[in-house]
C-alpha cells in the first residue's frame, strides 16, 4: 500500500528539508509555525505484466474505436508517431514505454501484412533526437528495422513539402500538421503521460504541427488563461488543442491513441533519499546524501551534469489505455491524478521551488537561465489544480545555480534571446509583439532546427510564455544560489541563502509570511482548496 501525498506543518522538531539545487541539493531548515512542506504521493503499484496489459489495451479500445487489429490491413498507410526526448523525466530505464508499445503495434501490423509503415518522432519545435536517444526510446529492434531504410523520421515543422494545412477551427486557428501522418490511413500515437498536460488531442495537434499552427496556443494570452495548463478543464492551451483535434477528426484524420502512465519512482535505489521524507532517512540514506553532496561540491559543473544526466529512472508502467483520443485521455488523466494529486488547504505567501537538474528541454543538455525560469515558473508553479499554492502578489523562491551557460548546439536562439531580448524587457507581451516573428522566421535558426539538433528559433519565447501566468500572479521572484548577473537578467532577485531570500521576500509579504515548500520531484499536482 503506497502512501498518499502529505502536507507537513513544520514545527521545531522538523528536520531540515531536502531542497533541489540544479545538479545538487541542500538541506534547508524552514521557519516553524508558519511553514509547510508538500510531499508527493509514493509510487503507485506497477503493472505486473506490462506487455500483456498493452496487448489487452490494443484489443479492447476505449470510446468508439475498433480494436487495433481491425484497423490494420494489407496495403494501408500506417504512421506511428511517438513522444520525443522531453518525456519522461528523468529518462526511464530500458525498455522504455514507447519501445514496448511500438513493438506491440508493429507485431499486429506485421500480422496484418502492413508494408507501408513509417515511424515519426513527434518533435513539434523541439530538437531532433540523436541516434542513441532514439535507440533508447524505441529500442534497437525497431530502430534497426526502420532507420536504415529511411522509415524512421523526425517531424520537421519547417518542411514546406512535408506539411499539410487541414483548415481553420471555429476560433480561426490554423491546423497544419505533418503531411505523411495526415495522409495516412491510420495514425497510431504512442504517448508517455508524465503529467496531466500530456496526451489527448495535444499529441497530434502539437507534436506533429508547424509553427503556423502552434502559435495559436503557444502564446502569452493562452498561457495567462491556462490556470493551470496542468488542469485540462481550466486550460486554454487544452481548449485550443481540443478544437484542433476535433477538426482533425472531422477532416478524416484517423487517430488511434495509446497513452501510458508511469509511477513516481524517479530515482534509483542508490539515491532513494531523494524521494523519501527526511525524518525517515536511514543511515544509508544519510550516508548517501552526505557523500554525494560532498562529491558534488568539489566536482566541476560539467562532470556533475554528466553524472545527473546519466540517471535513468526506474519508472514503471502503471496503466495503458488505447482507442479514441478523448476517451483514452479521460481514463489516463484519472490514473495520473491518482498518482500525483495532493490535497492542500489554502495558499501561502511564499512558495519554495527547488529546481532539479532536468526539465523537458535540457535532457543531455544544459539547464540555461531561460529554462530555469521555465522550470520554476512554467512547470513547478503550474503543478496545481484549483489555485496556485502561493497567493496573488506572493513570492516564489527558486533554488538553482542558474549559470550563465548555454548549450550552443541545442539552444542557439536561446543565447540571442537572453542577450538581445531579455536585456531590453522581460514582459512576455512586449517580447511576443516585438521579437517573436523575427526569431521564428530566422533562416539560420530554421537551418539549425532542420539539420542539426537545435530547438526552433521561437522556442525560447515559448519558454518565457510558459511562465507568463506566474509572472502576472507573483509579486516577486527570488533565486537562491544563482549567478547574480544571470538572475538579474531574468528580472528576478538573487539571494545567497534561503534566509536571505526570506528577508528579500519580506519586503513584499511581510515578516511573518506563510511558506509552502514544494517537495518535487517526484512530480505531484497540488490540489489547492
Amino acid at each position: 500500500m503506497t502512501r498518499p501525498g502529505f502536507v507537513l506543518e513544520v514545527d521545531r522538531s522538523t528536520p531540515p528539508i531536502l531542497t533541489w539545487h540544479g545538479e545538487g541539493y541542500r538541506l534547508e531548515r524552514l521557519p516553524p509555525g508558519r511553514s509547510r512542506v508538500i510531499y508527493p504521493p509514493e509510487a503507485t503499484e506497477a503493472l505486473s505484466d506490462p506487455d500483456r496489459a498493452i496487448r489487452e489495451a490494443l484489443l479492447n479500445p476505449l470510446g468508439d474505436s475498433k480494436p487495433l487489429p481491425e484497423l490494420l490491413s494489407a496495403g494501408m498507410r500506417l504512421t506511428i508517431a511517438f513522444d520525443d526526448i522531453s518525456l519522461p523525466l528523468p529518462p526511464m530505464r530500458r525498455p522504455d514505454n514507447r519501445q514496448r508499445v511500438i513493438e506491440a503495434v508493429l507485431d499486429l501490423a506485421a500480422g496484418a501484412g502492413v508494408d507501408d509503415v513509417v515511424l515519426i518522432c513527434a518533435l513539434a519545435l523541439h530538437r531532433r533526437m540523436t541516434e542513441s536517444e532514439l535507440r533508447h526510446a524505441i529500442g534497437d529492434r525497431v530502430y534497426d528495422s526502420f532507420a536504415p531504410s529511411g522509415r524512421l523520421l523526425q517531424h520537421d515543422a519547417e518542411d514546406p513539402d512535408g506539411l499539410v494545412h487541414i483548415g481553420l477551427t471555429d476560433a480561426g486557428e490554423d491546423v497544419e500538421i505533418n503531411k505523411r501522418a495526415a495522409e495516412s490511413d491510420l495514425i497510431v500515437y504512442v504517448n508517455i503521460n508524465l503529467v496531466a498536460m500530456d496526451g489527448g488531442h495535444k499529441s497530434v495537434a502539437t507534436g506533429l504541427a508547424s509553427y503556423r499552427s502552434l502559435r495559436h496556443h503557444h502564446n502569452v494570452k493562452t498561457m495567462r488563461h491556462s490556470r493551470s495548463f496542468m488542469d485540462p478543464e481550466h486550460s486554454e492551451l487544452h481548449s485550443s488543442n481540443w478544437r484542433m483535434g476535433r477538426l482533425l477528426a472531422a477532416s478524416g484524420v484517423n487517430i488511434f491513441q495509446i497513452e501510458t502512465t508511469l509511477n513516481n519512482d524517479a530515482f534509483p535505489a542508490s539515491a532513494a533519499f531523494l524521494q523519501k521524507r527526511e525524518w525517515e532517512w536511514s543511515l544509508r540514506d544519510r550516508a548517501g546524501f552526505v557523500a554525494s553532496s560532498k562529491a558534488l561540491s568539489v566536482m566541476p559543473p560539467r562532470s556533475a551534469r554528466s553524472m545527473f544526466q546519466a540517471i535513468k529512472a526506474p519508472h514503471a508502467l502503471t496503466s495503458v489505455h488505447a482507442g479514441e483520443v478523448e476517451a483514452v485521455h479521460a481514463a489516463t488523466t484519472r490514473v495520473v491524478h491518482r498518482q500525483q494529486l495532493v490535497d492542500v488547504q489554502g495558499q501561502t505567501d511564499i512558495a519554495i521551488f527547488g529546481l532539479p537538474h532536468i526539465c523537458p528541454y535540457n535532457v543531455n543538455s544544459i539547464m540555461n537561465p531561460i529554462l530555469v525560469m521555465c522550470m520554476g515558473l512554467g512547470y513547478l508553479f503550474n503543478l496545481y489544480r484549483g489555485m496556485p499554492i502561493v497567493r496573488k502578489g506572493g513570492v516564489a523562491i527558486l533554488s538553482h545555480p542558474t549559470p550563465w551557460a548555454f548549450h550552443p548546439v541545442h539552444h542557439p536562439s536561446y543565447i540571442d534571446f537572453f542577450e538581445e531580448v531579455l536585456s531590453e524587457t522581460t514582459d512576455p507581451a512586449v517580447i511576443e509583439a516585438k521579437y517573436e516573428e523575427r526569431f521564428a522566421t530566422d533562416d539560420w535558426y530554421r537551418h539549425l532546427y532542420r539539420t542539426s539538433h537545435a530547438y526552433h528559433g521561437v522556442h525560447p519565447f515559448y519558454m518565457w510564455y510558459w511562465g507568463a501566468h506566474a509572472l502576472e500572479h507573483l509579486g516577486r521572484v527570488v533565486v537562491v544560489g544563482g549567478d547574480p548577473k544571470a538572475v538579474r537578467r531574468l528580472g528576478f532577485s538573487p539571494a545567497t541563502t534561503l534566509a536571505d531570500a526570506f528577508e528579500i521576500a519580506s519586503d513584499v509579504v511581510g515578516r511573518d509570511a506563510t511558506i509552502s515548500h514544494f517537495h518535487c520531484p517526484p512530480i505531484m499536482i497540488a490540489d489547492v482548496h
Partner: protein, 299 residues
C-alpha cells in the same frame, strides 16, 4: 556527542505519528522506573556528588526571589525560560530542597527520548518525563497530572525548546493547562546567563555567571482559561527579566503599564536581532552582561 542531521538521525516532526515499531520511545517511553527508590537514590548520589558541584562551578549562580516562595509548601509547577542545556541541571541544583527531592522535568519527547540511551540517561539524571513540544497529548497529560496529584513537582520550559538565537520564544500553553488541570500553583523563574555559557549549537562550555530569579507563585484562574493563564506566566517571566536590568519598582511600573520589554526581542530581520544581542555586550566574554538588553520598545 549528539550529531546533527544528516550526520545524526533526523528528528521526528511533531505532527507525524510515530510508526508502531517505535512506540516505546518518544512520548511513549515509560519512565516510571526512574522514580523507584533505587533510581532516586542513584539520582541523589549523581546530583550531590557530580552534577550540582559541576553546574555550580561553571555557572556561579546567584539566586534571587526565594522569599517570594518561602511561604509555599505544596507541590508546584516551575516554569522557566530556556536557552541552554544547562538550565535543567542548574535549576535542579537551586530549587529549594523541599521541592527538589520530588521534582520531575518535562523533557522534549522527540529530543531526549528518541533513542534508548538518551531516554535512559535523561530519566535517571533529571527524572525527565517525555512530553510533546507543540501540544500536550492525552498520554503526556495523564502522566504529568498523575505525578502532580501524587505530590511531585514539575519543572517545565513553556517555550518548548532552547532559544535558537538568544531571544525568547513564544510560550506554549502546556504549563498553564497542566496547572489548571491539577490545580497546582506555577512558580515563574527567569534564568539569565546560561545562554552565554552553553548556547544552542555550542560545542564548548565557557564558565560564566548566572542569575536565577524566582517569581511569586501564580494560582490557576477559576475560569480555567489556559490561554490567558499562559500569557500571565509569560508576562511574569518577562517582568522577572526586567527586574534584573532595571530594579523591582521600575519593572513593576512597566508591568503596570503593560510596557514590560518582550523576551522575544525586536520584530526585525535576523541580523538586527543578532545585533541587538551581541552588539550591546561588553567584551568581557561569558562573564559579561548585556548592557542594552532587554529591547526597550514596548510590546
Amino acid at each position: 556527542m549528539n550529531l546533527r542531521f544528516p550526520f545524526g538521525a533526523p528528528s521526528w516532526p511533531g505532527g507525524v505519528p510515530l510508526p508502531p515499531a517505535e512506540r516505546d520511545l518518544g512520548v511513549h517511553y515509560d519512565s516510571d522506573w526512574a522514580r523507584s527508590p533505587l533510581a532516586r537514590l542513584s539520582r541523589s548520589v549523581i546530583q550531590t556528588s557530580l552534577t550540582n558541584p559541576v553546574v555550580r562551578a561553571i555557572t556561579s549562580p546567584t539566586v534571587r526571589g526565594l522569599d517570594r516562595v518561602a511561604h509555599l509548601d505544596e507541590p508546584a509547577i516551575f516554569a522557566a525560560n530556556h536557552s541552554s542545556h544547562l538550565d535543567a541541571p542548574l535549576l535542579m541544583a537551586v530549587i529549594p530542597q523541599r521541592w527538589r527531592d520530588d521534582l520531575f522535568v518535562a523533557g522534549a519527547a522527540d529530543y531526549f527520548f528518541d533513542t534508548l540511551p538518551k531516554a535512559f540517561i535523561s530519566a535517571l539524571t533529571l527524572n525527565a518525563v517525555p512530553m510533546e513540544r507543540q501540544r500536550v497529548s492525552r498520554t503526556s497529560a495523564r502522566r504529568a497530572t498523575t505525578l502532580l496529584d501524587d505530590g511531585w513537582s514539575m519543572l517545565i520550559f513553556p517555550e518548548g525548546g532552547r532559544s535558537p538565537d538568544g531571544w525568547g520564544q513564544s510560550h506554549r500553553a502546556g504549563a498553564a493547562w497542566l496547572a489548571i488541570r491539577s490545580n497546582k500553583p506555577v512558580i515563574p523563574l527567569y534564568v539569565e546567563g546560561t545562554g552565554r555559557i552553553l548556547p544552542k549549537g555550542a560545542r564548548r562550555v565557557r564558565t560564566g555567571k548566572v542569575t536565577v530569579n524566582f517569581g511569586a507563585p501564580l494560582f490557576p484562574p477559576a475560569n480555567g482559561d489556559a490561554r490567558s493563564f499562559a500569557t500571565a506566566i509569560e508576562d511574569s517571566i518577562a517582568a522577572l527579566a526586567d527586574e534584573l536590568v532595571s530594579d523591582w519598582y521600575t519593572s513593576r511600573l512597566r508591568a503596570g503599564a503593560s510596557a514590560t520589554p518582550s523576551l522575544s526581542g525586536p520584530d526585525a530581520p535576523a541580523w538586527r536581532r543578532s545585533w541587538a544581542l551581541t552588539g550591546t555586550k561588553s567584551t568581557g566574554g561569558a562573564n559579561s552582561t548585556t548592557k542594552g538588553w532587554p529591547w526597550t520598545a514596548p510590546r
